[in-house]
């Protein structure tokens, strides 16, 4: 299997506090990655294998970081469409990784802080932002004067 590689196209990135906020311009969704997820994302450049990413986490976070933590993190990034070569690992492999890591957390409570977090939100259209409708509207359903596929263009501007 090839080394994991994070997506680089159509993404805006902004470090915010300890997190990394990413806007996916292709899907119009935003993610916030905690430190663990951000470190894996930033270092998954195709040159490092899983062991290499483990080394990064051990150096930057905690020496107890291991392959299971990296595999869990890569799985979360993959689900968020943030990896290029998103060949999925088998569900059983992932379940086993998760089980082993959860068991380890039971033994070393501090590892909880290292768990990867990838939280996602949909960037709304103007209509969705107002109504809160998750399904309500792409630009085609907007009033013409407010159709902002390019907000510099004012369809009803004189």
């Amino acid at each position: 299997m090839s080394n994991p590689r994070a997506r680089t196209t159509d993404l805006l990135k902004q470090p915010t506090g300890d997190d990394l906020v990413i806007f996916d311009q292709h899907r119009n969704i935003a993610h916030t990655l905690n430190r663990t997820a951000a470190l894996v994302f930033e270092h998954a450049d195709g040159t490092r294998d899983v062991a290499g990413l483990v080394s990064v986490l051990q150096a930057e976070l905690n020496e107890t970081a291991d392959e299971d933590l990296v595999l869990m993190t890569l799985d979360k990034l993959r689900r968020a469409h943030l990896l290029e070569d998103a060949g999925p690992r088998s569900a059983e492999t992932l379940r086993a990784s998760r089980r082993r890591f959860v068991r380890k957390i039971g033994l070393v409570g501090a590892l909880t802080l290292m768990l990867p977090v990838v939280e996602t939100a949909v960037a709304p259209t103007p209509v969705m932002a107002q109504s809160g409708s998750a399904t309500g509207g792409d630009s085609a359903t907007l009033p013409p004067g407010l159709c902002v596929s390019n907000d510099q263009a004012c369809a009803n501007g004189l």
Binding site: L12, K13, Q14, P15, T16, G17, D18, D19, L20, V21, F23, Q25, N28, A30, H31, T32, L33, N34, E119, A121, V122, A123, P124, T125, P126, A129, Q130, S131, G132, P143, P144, G145, L146, V148, S149, N150, D151, C154, A155, N156, G157, L158
Partner: protein, 309 residues
């Protein structure tokens, strides 16, 4: 840019299209808005958005006079109609004593042959959206309630009907300075500016009445402020406020998912919210009654001020 007749390339008739709406549209289409009588024209700007309202109403006072108190807060008159987003208000009197109103936003019919109150409510509501969408990119509009204490803002992001006005009202009644019940308007430095329209208070039947902040015994802020706290609160009857702290990135996400132009100003939004989170902390949870949470938040703000000093 020269003012032209309102003939967009594609005329999009609304589903309510009727002979009356066609006649209404034809009237304005045959007119040159550049030379429309000034007393039948209302041109203004708000946060840089340029808006023009034109009417065939020649009565005194006209429908435009009735609309003035409902215009977006802080509006300023414009000297010319150049580059405005336009609205048309067609006033007809089909029978003696019966006056009907049809409102157009560009080529889109907003409401047709309704009474003045309904027409103005629809128009005023649409104007707020237009401002938020057409303000230049010095500004970022987020659906949120905003109040302030001690020169620090509290931002409550949320869509319509999420209870933010109820909470804002309770906060004002608890002594907070009112900034908005609709938009947090952010500048590029991450400070929040006032959008202090009258509060749209909804009763148990869903009817909205407008209440000025003065009528609530409060006052509106005028200065831009840094944000101290972001509160994401879901209403649930009887719930006790036991919030969880959000990380900076999670706080930014709560703002982004309520940002009007989140898709087209995403780069600006990410930069602005990063700056917001320099000074802000964010909480999320389920709230019960607004008055109880308002007192809790007031105490929280007081503690934060003590910590700063």
């Amino acid at each position: 840019m020269a003012l032209q007749q309102p003939t967009p390339p594609i005329v999009m008739w609304s589903p309510r299209e009727t002979d009356a709406s066609r006649a209404s549209w034809s009237f304005f289409r045959a007119s040159n808005l550049a030379t429309f009588p000034t007393e039948q024209t209302l041109l203004f700007t708000c946060y840089g958005a340029r808006i023009g309202i034109f009417t065939n109403d020649t009565r005194r006072p006209s429908v435009l006079e009735a609309l003035r108190p409902m215009l977006p807060p802080g509006w300023q008159p414009l000297p010319s109609a150049q580059g405005v987003c336009y609205y048309l208000v067609d006033v007809q009197e089909p029978e003696a004593g019966e006056v009907t109103y049809t409102v157009w936003m560009g080529s889109e019919c907003l409401v047709e042959e309704v009474d003045q109150e309904v027409a103005l409510d629809e128009l005023a509501s649409a104007l707020h959206v237009t401002v938020s969408c057409h303000a230049p990119d010095d500004w970022l509009f987020v659906h949120a309630g905003v109040v302030a204490w001690n020169d620090r803002a509290l931002v409550i992001p949320g869509v319509s009907h999420s209870g933010k006005t109820t909470l804002v009202k309770a906060l004002v009644e608890a002594g907070a300075t009112y900034y908005s019940d609709e938009f947090a308007v952010f500048d590029r430095q991450g400070r929040v500016h006032p959008y202090a329209r009258p509060l749209g208070v909804r009763d148990s039947q869903g009817q909205v009445t407008k209440e000025s902040v003065q009528a609530l015994g409060g006052h509106a802020g005028t200065e831009p402020l840094p944000v101290a706290l972001i509160v994401s609160a879901q209403y649930q009857p009887g719930a006790v406020w036991q919030p969880t702290s959000l990380s900076a990135g999670q706080g930014a996400l709560r703002l982004l998912e309520n940002t009007v132009l989140a898709r087209t100003r995403s780069a600006l939004a990410l930069q602005v919210f990063e700056r917001v989170m320099h000074t802000a902390t964010a909480l999320a949870g389920t709230r019960g009654e607004a008055a109880s949470l308002a007192l809790h938040l007031r105490a929280l703000f007081a503690r934060r001020v003590d910590e700063r000093t």
